[in-house]
Every structure is written in structure tokens, then in C-alpha cells.
Symmetry: D2
Subunit: 427 residues, 4 copies
């Protein structure tokens, strides 16, 4: 008999696809546990979405791309859900206007949870059927998609809470190690033809392939991301007042939006800086990686420092050939970047802590082809006017990230957990 409350029968191991499906879906809901229905409805800007919408959209993804084509006698759960929770898949059809997602007081949060349970049961059933092999790749894609939305939930929520004069606390963070950032050192790489991109054979997004060759001139890359302390020196040196350090478009943002520090930083009356985090407002720690900077700020800092941002190829080669200690991930419960450990000569924090802006535009790799059909709208159609970020952050699930992973944001985005590390062309 069907158990309405427990879509995931206990005993499933997490190393099966069904087990991982169970685990990822539950993890999303665990993220929402501290939130009220009201918290889950608000939308603080067009770029962000309500938490409830994320909960429904990730479910819509499984319903639309898996159940619809593979479930016998498929019936849509809700006629209008097809439109309401479609993000941008033109191949599926119309979409509810993005800026109006917070008007969807109906369906309620409870109804969305019921929708999740319904789809969970149906997918679980399919995974236990003859169709399992057929749908495995799409389930894998759906789980990775859901992990991306877990991170979006956290960053959208942080933006929302930062708009409240009540300074809400999402959760008490895990205790971060108390330590001082190690000195930044340069790690050298020789010139040559390298292969980058995912070689295949395991799950990866279409945009990570095909693997291909690039020629790299000799370069050096920093052993860790730029810290808040270093960034404070940039600020103190007039970094936000000197147009010669900035790209023209970045300088226009500085003037128009009054940027004078990373997003979420606040200067108190005594001149000290505090930062809004998912664990509440607290002093800026000079040892931590700087976070919530736009590409423009990362680029301006690098110019000020006599350096530049690494290309994505340089970054990938460094991360692959010479991996150092990793940073914090979602599961670690910091939800804020953590100071780098005392270091080896290998680059630290390439994975985790902060997404790192690269100097590469988000464009297709040579030979790139998106999948056929609506699911092909996942990555390819965004390949313009954005920059590549690498490495994941403190809000990314550990199992979600890898060295070939290509994230992308517009150059003025500051609400993701974005930092950067420096590079130089070897002379």
C-alpha cells in the first residue's frame, strides 16, 4: 500500500541512482526546514526566485523531462504547473513571467510539497521498473539540476534576508577554524598544448565538453583566492575611486550604483566593516576569501595588483595537475567562505569556498553540440555576455562539483558566492 508520507522507502543505499535521488530530494527540503511559508514566497529581485518556486521548478523538471515521456498513462499533476514552473524552456511552451513569481501565493507551500511527493513516488516507481535504464541519464541530469537550485535557494535567500531591516538569521553556522590566511605564493606552469574539458565516461554537463586541445603560454597562478584583508587594502588605496583601474562598463556601475565595497559589506560608524551572512551580521574577517564581488571588481583588483584573472583553461590545468586542499562546501554548514589552511605549494581552495571569476567569456568549446529537444536549452543558449566561474563554493554540494565544471554569470552579478584568485603571464 502506498505510503503517502514517505516517498522514499527506507533502506535504499545512497550509491544507487534511486538512493541518490532520495538523498538529493531530501537535502533540498532540509534546506527549507528553517523557513516559513512566507520566507519561501518572497522574491527580492528579478534575478532571484522564491524558495517555493525552486521547490516546484525542480519537481517540474522531473515531471516534464522524465514522467511525461516515460510514465505509462502519464497525467500532468496540475494543468497550469506546466506554465507556472517552467523557467525558460521555450521548447516546452509558455512561462509565467519571471518578475511575478512572488505573486504565486497559490499553490501553497504545502501543495508544492505534495507535488514533490507525488513526483518523487512516480520517479521512484519508474526507477524500479524496466524503464530505469532508459531514464537514468535524465534522472542524473535532474539531480544535478536540483543541486544547482539548492545553491540558488541559499544565495537567493541571502539576498532576500539582506533586504530586511530585521537582519534575519537563516541558521547558526558551523564553527569555522580560527586561523590566519597563508601567504599567497605563485605556482608556475610551463607553456604547451593541454587538453581541457570533460573526457566523458561520467556525468557532466554538455557545456564541459568536448574535451579539446588548447595552447597555453607559460603562466603562474596564485596559491589561494584573494582575501578580505587584501581587498581592504585595495579599498583603502582608493580602489573604488580610480577609473584607470576599471573596465569602462564596470566604472559606470560604480558610479550608478554607488559600489564602495563587496555586496553585503556595511561600514559602521567607527569605520569598521561588518558583513551580512546566512548566520547573521558579523565583522569582516581579513583572512577569509573575499566574496560577493562582481567580475568588474575582481578585474579591477587584479589590475591594481599588477596581475590578471586566470583563463578558464589555466585554472583547469592548475586544478587538475596540482590539486591542493579543498575548501568548504554546503554540507560543511559554514555557508560562508573559510580561511585557507596552512599551505603546501599546491593551490588551495580551487574547489569550494568561492566561485572564482576567470578571464574567459562563456562560449561553446570547439565542437560543442547541445542535446536535441527542450533539454538542450539547459546551457547552450546562455553562451553570450557572461564570464566563466570555476570551482564551486561554500553553498555547493560537494558531489556536484569537479574541475571541468563551467559556471557562468553576468559581469555585474554579486549575489552569488563569487571571489577570485590572481594569475600572471610568466615573462
Amino acid at each position: 500500500m502506498e505510503n503517502l508520507q514517505e516517498p522514499f522507502p527506507s533502506g535504499q543505499a545512497s550509491d544507487t541512482l534511486a538512493g541518490r535521488f532520495h538523498a538529493v530530494r531530501e537535502a533540498t527540503e532540509a534546506l527549507c526546514a528553517p523557513l516559513s511559508a512566507e520566507d519561501c514566497l518572497a522574491q527580492s529581485m528579478t534575478e532571484a526566485s522564491p524558495v517555493k518556486w525552486h521547490l516546484a521548478h525542480t519537481t517540474w523538471f522531473f515531471e516534464t523531462f522524465i514522467l511525461e515521456g516515460h510514465q505509462p498513462d502519464f497525467q500532468p499533476y496540475g494543468e497550469q504547473y506546466r506554465v507556472l514552473f517552467n523557467s525558460y524552456y521555450n521548447g516546452i511552451g509558455e512561462q509565467h513571467p519571471r518578475p511575478q513569481r512572488s505573486l504565486l501565493t497559490r499553490p501553497s507551500l504545502d501543495e508544492v510539497h505534495a507535488y514533490r511527493r507525488h513526483v518523487d513516488r512516480a520517479v521512484t516507481t519508474l526507477l524500479d521498473s524496466d524503464e530505469a535504464g532508459e531514464i537514468a541519464d535524465l534522472v542524473e541530469l535532474g539531480l544535478n539540476h536540483e543541486q544547482q537550485h539548492q545553491e540558488l535557494i541559499l544565495m537567493d535567500l541571502k539576498h532576500l534576508f539582506s533586504c530586511s531591516p530585521l537582519d534575519p538569521v537563516y541558521q547558526t553556522p558551523a564553527t569555522a577554524p580560527e586561523r590566519t590566511a597563508p601567504e599567497q605564493v605563485w605556482i608556475d606552469f610551463a607553456e604547451g598544448i593541454r587538453q581541457i574539458g570533460h573526457p566523458g565516461g561520467a556525468f557532466h554537463y554538455d557545456n564541459e565538453g568536448p574535451a579539446h586541445r588548447v595552447f597555453l603560454e607559460p603562466f603562474r597562478i596564485a596559491s589561494r583566492p584573494v582575501t578580505c584583508g587584501e581587498f581592504l587594502t585595495f579599498i583603502a588605496d582608493g580602489g573604488y575611486q580610480r577609473p584607470e583601474l576599471w573596465l569602462e562598463e564596470g566604472w559606470a556601475h560604480v558610479g550608478r550604483e554607488g559600489w564602495e565595497a563587496p555586496q553585503y559589506w556595511r561600514k559602521d560608524g567607527d569605520g569598521s566593516w561588518t558583513v551580512f551572512t546566512l548566520g547573521g551580521q558579523r565583522p569582516v574577517d581579513p583572512s577569509e576569501p573575499v566574496c560577493h564581488v562582481s567580475y568588474f571588481e575582481a578585474d579591477a583588483y587584479a589590475r591594481w595588483a599588477g596581475a590578471r584573472l586566470p583563463t578558464e583553461a589555466e585554472w583547469e590545468v592548475a586544478a587538475r595537475e596540482c590539486p591542493g586542499p579543498q575548501g568548504a562546501f554546503q554540507e560543511d554548514g559554514h555557508l560562508h567562505p573559510v580561511t585557507a589552511p596552512e599551505g603546501s605549494r599546491a593551490p588551495a581552495q580551487m574547489l569550494g569556498d568561492v566561485w572564482e571569476w576567470t578571464g574567459s567569456a562563456y562560449l561553446p568549446y570547439p565542437g560543442y553540440q547541445p542535446p536535441e529537444g527542450a533539454v538542450g536549452e539547459y546551457n547552450g543558449k546562455f553562451m553570450v555576455n557572461q564570464m566563466v566561474l570555476r570551482g564551486g563554493c561554500c553553498a555547493t554540494p560537494r558531489s556536484h562539483i569537479r574541475t571541468t565544471y563551467r559556471n557562468f554569470f553576468p559581469t555585474d552579478a554579486r549575489w552569488p558566492f563569487t571571489g577570485f584568485r590572481l594569475a600572471r603571464s610568466a615573462s
Copy 2:
């Protein structure tokens, strides 16, 4: 011992101020009973506010203008509430930005209800003390203020629900009388000096006074508001396509916003019109007063009909000297205008059913003075670029309205329950 759950001891008669305080505050909450916390958070446009915000702001009004000055040992209930729930009183201080009211997921709806109970108890206590006489006028003002927000709750909610593809139903409406609109007849008034405005001696808003003399040329006024059926004839005659019928600024709205019918009307595939109401989507009834039209549409219709809108003085004289049967109010449970009864020769529906656009700009009466202090920001500072509407509507509490009552909206407002009746200068 204080009963935390029942701020209003039973047994208070509604003809005392305390009794009316009790009744009005409860009526507000009764309006919200069918709504979830999510329904109460959303804000569908800058002009509208979340229901929760209305609940808190009306409470803030009592706390700020009564408790703060009169309660011994007054302590603000919440430090930030002073800012969060201040609408536009510059004399009180800063205000949370209006377009961001839906970001206030905190305080929760439950917390706002607790805030209401706290203030209710404190006001009740004061009304039972020696201060009662001192605060009576401000309590009266606060209750009328709250009644205005009851209407705003209904019209803002209607706008919100109209944005949902799910066509939510707020409540099953009371059964409306099935009848055909009586023929429109003209009622004549002779020229002469008339007094208009509130003569004093009972509660009224500052903007209704002082009473003063005006000279009226002879005029005629219609026995009832224009109906949907009449308005359909205007539409069929190309009303929305003929610039000569429109004020220039109205014509620009028609083009820019694609107006082709009153707000909330929808043309179905078969050419028939339905209308979205708080009781759900249903066919347009030709006998009902037309509703949700802007000043521009009312003015264009009047020009098409060879008539004009009455001035507010004409309207007031007609309503006072020759009152016919009234229309529906909030308590009647229609929440939608109702067909006029078979008529006497007196003008019907001057009070109730639809707010009636007049041809008068909202300006101070001769000798008008707002009260001293922040409470004086209530009406006077809006006396520009708006038109006067008279008579209340199906969402207005019956006890709130009177013939001298002056409402006002910008000329393009369509989300209030706005209709109109015709007038003519006698030749």
C-alpha cells in the same frame, strides 16, 4: 487576570467607542480569515500593499498616534516597526520602501496578529481610563482609517488574485438579486447657491470641510450609474478606437497599455465577455454598474454619450437633497456592484456599489486647514493631480460613508471599485 487571547472582553456594546473599536478591529481580521500567510504577503504592484502590511500598518497607526502620546510608560512594541509600517508620514520619520513591502517575510503573519492583540489591549485599557476623553477623536480617526484599509485589502487582493493563472476565489459571494437595470432618467436641479461640505458635529475627515457656499448653474443628473450593458455599446461603437472621444493623456494610456475594456474584463474566444471578481470568474452582467474604469474611460464614455461627469458639488447636492435607494456595501457580502432596484425618480446607488468619478479635481475647500502635526499628513498633502470620487462602493463598510465623503485617485487608477454616473448642464 488578563486574557491574552481575547483583547475584547465580551459584552461591550457596539454603540460605545470601545465597542466600535472592538467591532472594526475584528472586522478587519474577519476579512483575512480566508487567506493564508502566503496570500497575505504578496504585493502585485507598487500601488497595492500586502494584506499583512495593512494589518500591521493600521495597528501602527493606533500605536503611533494614540499609545505613544497617551500611554503611561509607553514602550514601542518593536523597534523597527516604527519604520516598517509607516506608510508616508514624514513627520514620524523614515519609511520602508513601498515597492519592497512584500519582502517583509518577517515579522510573520502570526507575529503581526500578536502585535494587533498587544495594541488592542493597550487601547482598550486607555479607553477605560481617564484618558478616554482625550483620545476619543484619534480613536475615531483610527477606526475610520482602518475601515479605509479594509477596502484597500479587498481591492489589493482582487488585483493580486487577478494576476494568478489559477483564478483564485476569495469567497462565495452573497446571492445578488436577479433583476434588470431600470431605465436611466434625468433628475433636474435648479440654479442657485448651495452649501456643500461637512457641517461639523460628527466625525468626518478634514478634507470634507469647511462647509461653504458654491453657485451651481442648473444641471441634471442620471438616476443611476452607467451599466455594463451601456458600456458594451460604447465598446461596440469603437469607443476605445476613437481619439476624438478621449482626453489626450487618456488616449496615450489606451495606446500604451492596450486598454480595450474595463480592468478585469476578459474577452473569450466566442466574443463574450467575462469578468474576474472576488467570487471568481463569471459572465459580465449587462445590468450591473460598470466597474474598474479609469477617470479617462468614464470621461470618454460621457463624451460619447453627449453628457459629462457631475462635479462633486452637483453630486453632493443630488445625494443630499434627493436620496434614492442605496447600493451594496461590504457587509452585504457581494463584493461586486449590484444591479439598481426598480426606481423611484430619486437617484439610486449614490451610496454603495461603485465609487463614482466626478469631474472635480481633488483640491482643498476654501478655508481648509489640516490638523497640526504628523496626523495632518492624512489628506491634505495629496491634493494635486487626482480626481474626486464619491459615494463608496461594495467593498466599503456601510458605517464609513456619507454624502460629504471625498475619495480621490489618480486618473489612470482602475483597480479600485470605480464607476460613474452621467450629468448634463441644463440648457
Copy 3:
């Protein structure tokens, strides 16, 4: 044989219609004499028009409303001129987009002058024909229309030149009398029924009629407009920083646009104020009427001064029943308001110097009917969301103005020559 260069045969007396036609048309061109073709093309904001466009549009008016219906074998001068130089007459047809008038480098200024000569000759011919009686009223309207555009040319040009860092001088002004403003005194008027509006029998705009009765409570009106010196006291008293003095919409303008003084005022390093005029930049003269203030500023000043603006009926009664010395007009060559003369007890400067904001919204008089056809779009369709101004200004031709004249502008307009005088309700 036709004289191509002299459309106006000499010897015509200016008291004939043909003579006045000649004079008004020449006066327009005289205003443009100091300007280059470049000066005549620029458009500094949407509300303003290029001088060349004014030259062509006034000509279009005669061609469209007179030649087209009355000239035998009428042929349009230029096919596209009908669209290019139509301002807003929907009854005539399409219009070139207003914000793009400065893109009309073709036809050239010379070609527009040729267009003027062509139409001048044709109208002159008609005025000498049997049609003369038929077209007389329309010619009169066209001349008054052209006089309005003379004033618009001056105010639009002033705005344009004020945008130039070169501080261009339009012309050396006539020498203004050096004198100190007389003390402001109050002139009393008793209550009673008065007739206002144009009684007919001579040229007047449709919006000035019909004459009709109004009841006025007793009032007092100031003997002269508010001066710059008085306005400086308002500024020094924090007038632009105190929200309690302002209408809400006005206060929003103050914040959004950074108003801190009348338009064209500039505060120099030493704290003294200068003002940009058509005669160049010069010190603010405390004795002159303050000019280039919005309705919001006039209203705020009046509130600060414990007074109010007069209604248009009060203004008209005072100007008619008790006329004092007049102010400067276009022909006087000041193109800037001039200090009031030492006064009688009669109100000075009711006509001339500055347009005076009244507290009356621009709405139709009882019984108002615009003319049939496109020419009826002249005034009526603008009767919403504007306030009435009275009396003409230093840029208005003397023969153009009268006490019943109703001008109108939106409440935030500051580029016309707008000032104000105070009034009070008598107690």
C-alpha cells in the same frame, strides 16, 4: 507678377486682419533672426521643440486649417509636411514622434522659410478674396496660435541654451528700471456671486468660455508677485528641506531631482546666487518676481508664508475689478521679469512679467464645448492633471493676453516663465 521675396506688400495697416497677419508672422521671424540653423534644430527635452519646428508648425496650422478647405485647387506644399509638422491633431492624422523633432535636419531652415513665404502669400491672397469673411475667425485663431509659439520659442530656446557650458547669450536685454520692490500689501474682496469667463464679442479661446457665475467667499490677494528676495528667505529657512511644507508629489520631485532653488538659478562658490537669462548669466535681483518655479514650489512657499495661491476666479476678479500697473511683455525686450513699480493699492503685474500659478485645476467651465472637428483639439483635450496659470509673462506678446486668458501646465513644469502671487481666505 509674384514677388517671391516679399509676401507682405508694404502699406498694409496693422489694424486690418491682413496687416496683423503680416505683423505677427514677421514678429516670429524676427525672434529667430539672432539664431543659426543649428540653434534652430536642437531639442533639449521632449517637452520642448526645435525653433525650426515651431516655424514650420505654425505655418502648417494655416495651411491645414485654412488653405486646405478654402483655397481653390489647393495642393499641399510638401506631402510629408502634413505628418512632420502636425503637433497632436489626431483628427488630421499621424504625427512625427515628438521626441524626434531634432532629427529633422531636412527640410532645412531655408526650406522652412520658403514654406512660410509660400503659405503667407496664399493666405494673403485669400484675405484679399471673397473668402476673407469665411476664414477670418480661423486666421485670428492661427495668429493667436502663432503668438503662443513665439513664447514657446523663447522658453524652449532658454532651456536649450541653459544646457550649454558656453552660456550663450540670445540678445542683449533692454535696460530694466533700477528700483526696489514695493512692500506687498493685501487687497480685499467681499464675498458674492461673480461672473467669470469671456463674455464673447471678440477673439478668445474656447476654454475661456462660457462666461458663468461663481460664488466667492471673501478673500484677499497680494498686491504683487512674490519676489526673488522673499523666495531666498524661504530657501534660507530650509524651504527645500522641510517635507511638511510640500505636497507629497512635490516632495518626491525635490528628492528625485535635487531641487534646491528655482530652475536656472546657480549657487556660486561664495554662496551668492546667479541666474541664467536670455541675456546671459547674471546675479539674482531680490526685487524681481521669482520665476521658473513649479506649482509645487509655489504651493510650498505659500504654505510656508501662511497663505495660499488664489483660485483662477479670485485672480480674474482681482485683475478685472481693480487693475493696477502692468508688467513687461515680449515687445519690451527684457525677456525677464521686471521689478514692480512703486505701487498704488491696486494689484500690479497681473498682466505681464510672470505667469501666475493659481490653485485651480485646468478643467472645463460649465457648459464648455470645443469646436467641431480637428481644430477642437486645441484646448479641451488637455483638461486634466494640469493647473491654470494666468496673466502672461515677459515673453508673451502684449496683444495676446487678457484677464480671462487660461494657460495651463503640468505641476512640475519649470521652464515656462512661471511665478505666483499669494492669496488668503478672509477670516
Copy 4:
């Protein structure tokens, strides 16, 4: 004695720097010869500038970067010119707001020509002095800068004239060869490391260097740009209605701006297409390269055609290693792309006719360093959110272009002479 009218003494050969200075400066003025002062003032959009402003700004460049540092007893020609004609050089100081360039009726066109002659004489004198060697590189830069503005004059003017309902003709074009476009064939290139970028030793912009190695996978490139005829097939196949062909941001442009064909195309009543050119309105010639398409349109066409755009490295290798017949340049007097000649197997029109969108983002080459000082703001600060275009166009001076030349525009720009050719990854 100084000859005020002839800054360039006759007899200078065009192969000296002074001779080329003479020739380039004169060529700019020749482009303006058919234009009135009015034509030279208008600005049809923020991205475009008035012709007069181009004339002055190019002169400002020589005055600011050469005369100011090298002329003995330098005095600025006009105090305010430093601000008025500074485009975006923050290192020099403030700038007149870009959208208000058309308000600069003063200085007049004649005064700007006088400014040009003044600076021309001074530079000529310097080039004949001991300073000649010192300033040679900057003069070279200034001449290339002026050539870029020659092209801008033509494209900005084309946009302006296209806004006029009079369809102005700039000049009668040279007679284009009547021929049919040759078949498009693919030209193959093998994989390998190639050097791209300017090797130095002659004038080039900083952004063309340093020369550096890249690895190219095998690819094929089309023998000529896509033609209007081919693009018409794309349109007929629903190209502008099929979201799956478009980048998401491009698809938003299609919807918002109603794109349905290249800019300047107009569909006549009979379904045939005409195009607005600098030589007037004329039928679309199916054989010509398609022109005035955005990056988004080029990209969508390529996807539709089963191909892609070449990278800038692929383009440069093809143009260098296998140069075919060139296209039309400014001097040829077509000012419109011309049909490709009957072809060899080498790629035609790599230089000339249309700027070709590449699939490469405009970013710095490895090791790129802009010059010190304000002159370094020339190229580097724009290296974000733009795409590279290659090859010059029918409005580019022949001497200005080369295979390493990197032009750049935002992805929605359509008013430059932009076309594209296809490429494919070899399988």
C-alpha cells in the same frame, strides 16, 4: 604670412607622415561636404554622435595628446573644448554627457572647422620641427583614430537619415558590378599551433598584440559572407519566429524590439523587401552580402544553417594564409556591400564590404598591456561583453584595415556595417 584658408601647403607627398596627415584630415572633411550644418548637428541615438562632434573630437585628440605635451607655449584653443569634445578619457577629465551632444549648437560648424584648421597648422608645424620624431607614433595613432571616426560618421549618418520620413540621399553611389554571388564553398584548414596577432614593426592598435600562439582544431571556413538571398531563405523559414535557433538574450531582443529582418530593411505592401542605403532606398539585392545584422542574428542564422561563426583566430589564419579577392572600401564610393566576384577557391571579401562577426569575445590577448596614461584608455577598457568583428567594411578606408585588426561591438549592435561568414568544425 599665415594662410588662414590652407593649412596644408600644397606639394606634400602622401607618403610622408605630414602628407598622410594632410590626406586623412582632408578626407574627413570631404565626407562632410554634402552635409548642411543641420545635418551635422543631429544625434539619432545615444550610441551615435553628431558629425560636427566627430569633426571636433578627432581634432581634440590631436590637440590633447600631441599639442598639449609637445607644442611650446601651448594654449588650449577653447577652454571648454577640453570637456565638450572628450569622448571617454577619464585620465583627461570630465566629459560632456554623451546623450546631449546634439545640444551643442555652439560652437557652430564653421567654428569647428576653424578649430580644425588651427590644430592642423600646429601639428603641421610640429611635424616640420625637431619634435617630429617624438610625436610620430601619436600622430599615426591620431590618423588611425580619425579614420575610425570617418567610418563612424558614415554609419551614424546612415542611422540618422533612416529616421527621416524624407528618405534623404547622402550621395549617388558608385556603380556596383552587376553579378550573381558565386556559390559558397568550404575551405579547409588543418589542426595545429598557429601564431596570431600583430607581429610588430608597423602601426597597429595595442589590442592586436602581442602576437601569440593558439591551437586550432581542424576547421572549414566559407568562401564568402552570407548573402541577402540566403538570409531571405532564413526569414522565409521562420528564422525570426523559432526560439530554438536563438541565444536566449537574442530571442528577448527579437520579442522586445520586433526584429523581423536586418536593420534598414523594409517590407513593402507587395511583400518585396527594400533597403535604406546612403544612396537612397532600393530593392534588396539577393547577391549582396547581408549587412546590419546583430551578433544574435548572425549566430541564429549559423545555427539554422548547421554551422557556426568562425573564431577570430580561425578568421585571421584564413585571411592571412589564403587571401582571396578583397571587397569594397570607403574610397570605392559604394558605401554599401558589393556582390562577391566569381571566385577562386580562396576566401573572398575577408577585407572590405562587411565587418564579420566572429564567435570570439573581445578580450585581451595573453600578455596584453595598454600604454601608460590616458591614451591607454583607447581599447583596453572596453574588453568585456562585446564580440570581435574582423575585416573592415565598405565604409572603412582601405589603408586602415589589416588581417590582425580587431573591431568590437555589443551583441545587439546593428547600425554598423555588420555581416558574417560561416565556419564549421571539421569532423
